[in-house]
């Protein structure tokens, strides 16, 4: 569905050459919910911008449904971290959600109204269409941005650390919202985050990235049940194992350690728990505090 092959991005400017992404190859299957997690500054945003056609890669390619991405593809929607800047303050919520639809050919005004109302309903903001974005709270603004993406009816939804700037309670609600929308609307979702718990809780699969210059450190199937719950899922032993494993991989990535054996394929998690880059570590001491 969504293929990234040999992606490399080098920024050149004012005599400085920065290799943000070295060599990334992975695939997102149709209808999958994949979380990308990596240490901060690891080129996650660069990767996402290349995937969405906003940025041209130095080499390698991204294909969506077999077609090369060389500009923003029509079947893709992007949710930015900075909702306050991504929503247009001069338009009311309804107009913000409707604007991308006006660019789509063959959508009548009636159908647009329908899509806008339906998308706002889905994110629980049915009666906010007449408000300006800046009259809403941060969490509500990000819901509007999500509604705008939904109304666009994308095949693929890219989300770039969308909940990094909202408070913890709102964040839990929004995570459940993403899970629900993904199940209801059979979209492919690629969710970038720096939060390990969030990646494990949300994803069907987690791709761990190395530090910059970025490669895939590990790919990991999340075998938690399909129905997830903030309270019960997060306290299951399996959840703890998975997050511990991802945490260790991130720590290894930060140190620049070589990925654990089997990196690039689906690592055997049970075996890998308690090791990072092949080196045994004290899990209890390395455990991040529970949220």
């Amino acid at each position: 569905m969504l293929d990234v092959r040999g992606l490399r991005k080098v920024y050149e400017g004012s005599g400085r050459r920065t290799e943000a992404v070295r060599d990334l190859t992975f695939t997102v299957e149709a209808g999958e919910l994949v979380c990308l997690v990596g240490p901060s500054g690891c080129g996650k945003t660069t990767l996402l911008k290349c995937m969405s056609g906003l940025l041209a890669p130095t080499s390698g390619e991204v294909t969506l449904g077999g077609r090369k991405v060389d500009g923003p593809p029509p079947g893709m929607a992007f949710v930015f971290q900075e909702y306050g800047r991504s929503l247009f303050p001069w338009m009311r919520v309804g107009a913000n959600v409707e604007l991308p639809l006006k660019q789509k050919k063959g959508l009548g005004a009636a159908r647009r109204k329908e899509l806008v109302a339906d998308a706002l309903e889905s994110v629980g903001l049915a009666d906010a269409a007449g408000a300006y974005p800046w009259q809403l709270s941060g969490g509500m603004q990000q819901r509007v941005a999500i509604a705008r993406a939904l109304a666009y009816e994308p095949d693929v939804l890219l989300m770039d650390e969308p909940f990094a700037a909202v408070d913890a309670q709102t964040r839990a609600d929004l995570e459940d919202l993403v899970r629900r929308l993904w199940q209801e609307r059979s979209m492919t979702v690629l969710f970038v985050t720096h939060d390990i718990d969030e990646a494990v809780y949300l994803g069907e699969r987690v791709i761990v990235l190395s530090k910059s210059p970025t490669v895939v450190q590990e790919q990991l199937k999340v075998d938690l049940p399909r129905e997830r719950d903030q309270l019960t899922t997060r306290v299951t032993p399996r959840f703890a194992e998975l997050r511990t494993h991802v945490y260790e991989q991130i720590q290894a990535a930060k140190r620049g350690a070589v990925a654990a054996p089997g990196a690039g394929e689906e690592a055997e998690v049970a075996k890998a728990v308690g090791t990072a880059g092949g080196v045994p570590v004290d899990v209890r001491k390395d455990m991040p505090p529970l949220r």
Binding site: L54, A77, K102, Q103, W134
Partner: protein, 257 residues
């Protein structure tokens, strides 16, 4: 607080008027060059009753409004064009920097040569002065487009024209409004100057006539009218600005979330 400020403002104005009345009457300045306020007010009353005054006011406002409109439209069109077409801005930057500082009044001889004392002379000077104010603000404003807003628009497939209309234009609007407000003030100054120096019909020409015929209080009365005109134009421009930018941080004020 607001009422208190208004009261202070009124008191200040009243004090100024009293001084303007008392100082000439005490003989501190010569009355024939600086008549007391009451004399000026009387002359203003006479002016207002004279149809020729209203014709002159109409002429001045026509020159001002036409010139301002031409300058604003041209400034916006050229500004957007320079920003949208790559390289055009770099190619024109130095020319703009050269032409912009030329004072409009330096073009008075040219205006007289071309159009004599017609309205077109006034328009030439007004447009030249006001155009740069608008153009410069448009160029600044367009550079202030938020990259995230721009990327959002691109990611949803908005084309160049749609991005100009829905992203670039609203982002630049606060700057454009400032430009229009500055241009409106400059346009009035140039309209009066042109009438005064060239003799094109209008309030400026009427001031010149009053001065040469030793009608000093009438001259002051006309000066007061131009001042009031400037005040009204500024208030008008600010009102338009507030309405057009109701969504903008500088206008919307604190929002309770």
């Amino acid at each position: 607080m607001r009422g208190e400020n208004a009261a202070l403002g009124a008191a200040g104005l009243a004090g100024f008027l009293v001084l303007g009345e008392v100082i000439p009457r005490l003989g501190l300045v010569k009355q024939e060059y600086f008549p007391p306020v009451s004399r000026i007010a009387e002359a203003l009353g006479v002016e207002v009753g004279d149809p020729a005054f209203w014709t002159a006011l109409g002429d001045t406002l026509t020159g001002w409004a036409l010139g301002l409109t031409i300058a604003v439209v041209a400034g916006i069109v050229v500004g957007v064009l320079l920003s949208v077409v790559p390289y055009l801005r770099e190619a024109t930057a130095s020319t703009i920097e050269f032409l912009r500082p030329i004072p409009s009044v330096a073009l008075i001889p040219l205006a007289v040569l071309l159009y004599g004392t017609e309205l077109r002379s006034v328009l030439l000077l007004v447009v030249y002065a006001a155009f740069w104010q608008v153009l410069l603000q448009v160029l600044y404003g367009v550079r202030d487009v938020d990259p995230v807003a721009e990327e959002t628009a691109r990611s949803y497939g908005l084309g160049t024209w749609a991005r100009v209309r829905h992203v670039m234009w609203p982002s630049a609007l606060p700057y454009v409004m400032t430009g229009v407000r500055l241009a409106a003030a400059v346009a009035l100054i140039l309209a009066i100057t042109a009438e005064l120096v060239i003799g094109a019909p209008g309030l400026g020409a009427r001031i010149a006539v009053a001065q040469t015929s030793q009608a000093v209080p009438e001259m002051y009365a006309l000066v007061v009218v131009t001042g009031l005109l400037g005040l009204l134009i500024n208030i008008g421009a600010r009102t338009v600005e507030r309405h057009a930018l109701a969504w903008h941080q500088s206008v919307r004020g604190e929002v309770t979330v």
